[in-house]
C-alpha cells in the first residue's frame, strides 16, 4: 500500500500545535463566559435544505455534500432502484476517485495510525496521545446510538511494556473517581487466555466462536451457550472440558491458580496468565488501594482486534452497557505499511458516561461556564450607573452580565430565572443614592443591601 496522505486543505494538529491552539481557545472561551455567553455545539452534518441558498451561488458550490449512505433507504420503489444502481456505480468508481474520494472519520484509531505513519520520523516513541473528537457512522439511529458521536481515546504506541496496561487501570480509576462515579468495575482479561482456553479444550483457533458464545453467559445462561457452541462446531468433549471455565470463581489468585493448572498444555495460555499477573502486580506497586479490578475470563470485547489485555468498565447502580473499553493490539499501523508497532489504548464512552452521571445525579451543581450574576436596572440612569459595577465584578473573575434593554423588572428577573443565573443585582434610585446595591439570591429568595465589594465576596464564596 502506498504512503497514506490527508486531503488537500486539511491539517493534523499534533501535540505542539494543540497546546498552542488550546491556549487560544481556552482564553477566548473564558472571556466569552465572563461576558455571559453560553456554549453551543451543532452537528457537523446539516440537512442540505438548511444550508443551500444561504451562502450565495458560490457557497452552494463550495459546500461539501455527503453521499447518502447505503442505509438511507427510500420508500418510493422507482427511487430504490435508481439508488441501488447509483450505489453500484459508486462502488466501481472508488478507485477512479471520480465521484467521491473523501470520507468522514469513522473512529479515532485509524486516523491515529495514519498520523503515526505519516509522522513516524518526528514522533518520540513511545508515543502517548489522547484524542477527543466526533466520529460518524451511517448506522440506523436508535436510543443511545447516534450517527455523530464523540470518541475519547488514549493510546500508547511503540512499546510492549505492561506498565501501559497498569497505567490504563490507574487512569480509569482516577478519571471515573474525579467524575464522581464511585461504583464501577474494571473488568480485565487477556486475548491469550482466551486462546489458551480454546487450545486446552481441543478447539485450537476457535477462540473467536468461544468468545462470542461465552460473552452471553450472563444473558442467556449456560445451557443456551452450550447449544450455541455445538452449533458453532464445538465437540461435546470440548464443551465438557469447558465446564471448569464456566464455573470459574473466587479472587484473582484462586482463578489464576485454576487456570495455570488447566493451561499446562497451552503456552499461549500461560503467557496470557503471566501478562495478567504482571499487570496486577504493577497496579499494586503503584500503591492503589481499591483498584476496582476484576478478572473476567469471559470478557471478549472486540476479540478480532486485541492481542493482549482486554479492558471493559461497567458502572454499578444503572442499567447500561460498558462505559469504557480498550486493550492491546499488536499491529496498529500494519495496514499503512509499517508493521511491528504495538499499542494499547482505552476509550471512554462519553455518551454513556453522561447518561450514568445524569441518572445518578453526579454532575456538580456549580458550573464554571454559566453566568453567576445578572445586573438588572429600573431605568436608563441606573443602567449607566451599572456599567462600571459590571466591569468590576467581571474583573474579580465572576461571569456576569447586564440585561441589555430597559425593560420591566419582571421580564429581567424572568430572564435570570430561565437562564438559571443564581444571583441578581437590582439597581434603582435608592441604590444609586446609597451605593449599596440590592443583591438577590435567586435560589433562596433572600435579598440584601451590599457594596460592590461585598457582592463579589458573597458570589465568590457561596456554593451554588
Amino acid at each position: 500500500m502506498s504512503q497514506p496522505s490527508i486531503p488537500q486543505g486539511t491539517r493534523d494538529f499534533g501535540p505542539v500545535q494543540m497546546a498552542k491552539r488550546t491556549f487560544i481557545f481556552d482564553t477566548i472561551k473564558s472571556v466569552f463566559q465572563r461576558f455571559g455567553f453560553q456554549p453551543l455545539e451543532t452537528p457537523t452534518m446539516e440537512n442540505l435544505s438548511v444550508l443551500m441558498g444561504k451562502y450565495g451561488d458560490e457557497g452552494d458550490q463550495l459546500l461539501f455534500k455527503i453521499l447518502n449512505s447505503a442505509l438511507d433507504k427510500k420508500k418510493d420503489h422507482e427511487k430504490v432502484a435508481i439508488k441501488a444502481a447509483f450505489d453500484k456505480v459508486l462502488e466501481q468508481s472508488y478507485t477512479s476517485n471520480l465521484i467521491t474520494e473523501r470520507g468522514l472519520r469513522y473512529d479515532l484509531t485509524v486516523p491515529f495510525a495514519r498520523y503515526v505513519v505519516m509522522n513516524r520520523n518526528d514522533i518520540a516513541l513511545p508515543f502517548k496521545r489522547y484524542q477527543i473528537q466526533p466520529v460518524w457512522r451511517g448506522d440506523r439511529p436508535q436510543k443511545g446510538r447516534y450517527r455523530e458521536f464523540y470518541q475519547c481515546d488514549a493510546d500508547v504506541v511503540g512499546t510492549t511494556s505492561l506498565l501501559c496496561e497498569a497505567e490504563i487501570v490507574l487512569m480509569l480509576n482516577q478519571a471515573l473517581t474525579n467524575l464522581g462515579i464511585k461504583d464501577f468495575t474494571i473488568k480485565i482479561n487477556n486475548r491469550k487466555i482466551l486462546t489458551g482456553i480454546a487450545e486446552s479444550v481441543g478447539a485450537t483457533g476457535k477462540e473467536g466462536d468461544l468468545a462470542v458464545a461465552i460473552d452471553k453467559l450472563d444473558k442467556i445462561g449456560k445451557e443456551k451457550v452450550e447449544a450455541e457452541l455445538l452449533e458453532r462446531g464445538f465437540s461435546s468433549e470440548s464443551i465438557q472440558k469447558l465446564q471448569p471455565f464456566f464455573a470459574m470463581k473466587g479472587n484473582f489468585d484462586v482463578q489464576v491458580a485454576l487456570l495455570a493448572d488447566l493451561f499446562q498444555g497451552s503456552e499461549t495460555g500461560q503467557k496470557g496468565l503471566q501478562e495478567l499477573s504482571e499487570v496486577i502486580q504493577l497496579v499494586t506497586a503503584f500503591g492503589l488501594t481499591d483498584t476496582h479490578l476484576e478478572f473476567d475470563v469471559t470478557l471478549a470485547r472486540g476479540l478480532s482486534y486485541y492481542t493482549g489485555a482486554i479492558f471493559e468498565v461497567k458502572a454499578g447502580g444503572v442499567q447500561i452497557g460498558s462505559i469504557c473499553g480498550g486493550g492491546r493490539y499488536d499491529n496498529l499501523t500494519g495496514a499503512f505499511g509499517v508493521p511491528g508497532l504495538s499499542g494499547v489504548g482505552i476509550s471512554f464512552g462519553v455518551d454513556r458516561i453522561y447518561d450514568v452521571m445524569e441518572e445518578l445525579s453526579l454532575f456538580p451543581s456549580k458550573d464554571t461556564i454559566s453566568t453567576r450574576l445578572l445586573i438588572t436596572c429600573f431605568d436608563k440612569e441606573a443602567f449607566t450607573y451599572a456599567l462600571p459595577v459590571l466591569a468590576k465584578v467581571r474583573e474579580a473573575g465572576i461571569n456576569a452580565e447586564i440585561y441589555p434593554d430597559i425593560a420591566k423588572m419582571k421580564k429581567q428577573l424572568d430572564y435570570a430565572d430561565r437562564k438559571k443565573v443564581p444571583f441578581v443585582v437590582i439597581i434603582g434610585s435608592n441604590e444609586m443614592a446609597t451605593g449599596r446595591l440590592a443583591l438577590k439570591n435567586m435560589t433562596t429568595g433572600e435579598q440584601k443591601s451590599l457594596s460592590v465589594e461585598e457582592i463579589i465576596e458573597v458570589i465568590l464564596y457561596t456554593e451554588q
Copy 2:
C-alpha cells in the same frame, strides 16, 4: 419555508448539555495529561483510501462519503466530461434527496440560526451563545486558506440594544490582551453611515459599489478608486462630492462632526452616526481606558449582511489580514421563517491569531498540557521503586510519566529531550539506598539530589 430540522442521529448540544459535557471532557483530559498523554486532532475528512477496508464490509457501508466538490477538477478530459455530467444530475437531484441530502457545516451562523428557530420556545431571549467548531469549504487551498478550519463566534440575538456592540469591543480588548497581543486596532463603522454617504453624494442605494471601491483606498490609491467608481456608474458629480469622505481625518469627535454636517439630507446617515456615538459612550462608561477603537468610515466588511455596526480587528507589527470581524444583522432567522430577530456577533480568526502569536513569539512558554517530569530508571528494581514515586508526583498535580521500558539511559533521556520534558528524575541503586533522587533540569543541565517532596516543590515553583 418549512420548519428546519437536523439530520437523523445527530444532536445539538445547548448550553446545559455543553456545561455537563465540558465537565466530562475536561476531567478526562486532565487525567490523560497527568499521565503524560498529549493531545492530537486529525481532520474530519480522510481520504477514502485511508478509511476503506479498515472496518470490514459493514464499515465500508456505514462510512459517510463526501461528494467531490465542483472544484475537484480531474485532468483526464474524459473524466472531466463525466464529472460535469454528474454535477448536473446532482444539481437536479437536490430536491429529490436521492443522492445527497446532508452537507458539512459551512459556517457557524446558519446552524446557529437554525438552532434558534428550532428551540425558540425554550431559549431565554436575548440569547448569548458562543460556538467554537470546525467548518468546511471546498475552496482551492492556499497559504492560510484551508478546507477545514475552526470558527470561533459569539453572538447575541433577540435585542437591538447597543450595549451588545459595546460589550463586543470590551470582549475583543479582553481576549486579545489575555492572549498577549498588545498592538491591535479595533476598527468600527456602521452600515447606515455607508448608506448615508451614498445618499448624500446622490448615489442612493449604491452603498454596495461604494463600499467595494473605497475598501481598496489603502491598496490602490484614490485615483484608481475613482476610476472604479466611474466604471460602477457613479457620476463625476458624485465622485466630486465624495472628496470630503476620502479626506476624513482626525479623532472620533472631529470625524463625527464632519459627517453630521454632510449627512444633513440623510436620515439613515444621521441614525448611523447616533448609533456609533452611543456605542463609544457605552464603552467609555465601562471605564475602559485604552479602547483600541478607531472609527474607519471606509470599513465595509461583508456589507450585504450587516445592517448596523461593523467591526474588524487588525494586529500591528505583522503583515496579515484582519484577525477578527463581525457586526449587527437584522434578520438572522428570516430564512427559516422567523423574521424580526436582530443579532450582533463577533468572530475570532483563530488561524490568523495563531500565526500572529507565532510570529510575535507570544505563546507562553509554560504549558499546562505537556509532561513536566519523566522518571528514568537504570534497572528493573529501580523501575519498581519508581512507581509509588510517580504516583506521588501526579497526586501533587504534576503531569508526569515513567519511561515504560528498561532501556539505556541515553535512550530515555533522548525521549525526554524529544518530548521537551523539562525535568527528569534518574533512579539507580544509589538513589534507592539514600532515598534522595537525582533531579535533572533539562533546560539548564543542572542536577541535584533531592527527596520526592523537594522534587515536587522544585517542579511546581520553577518557571519553564
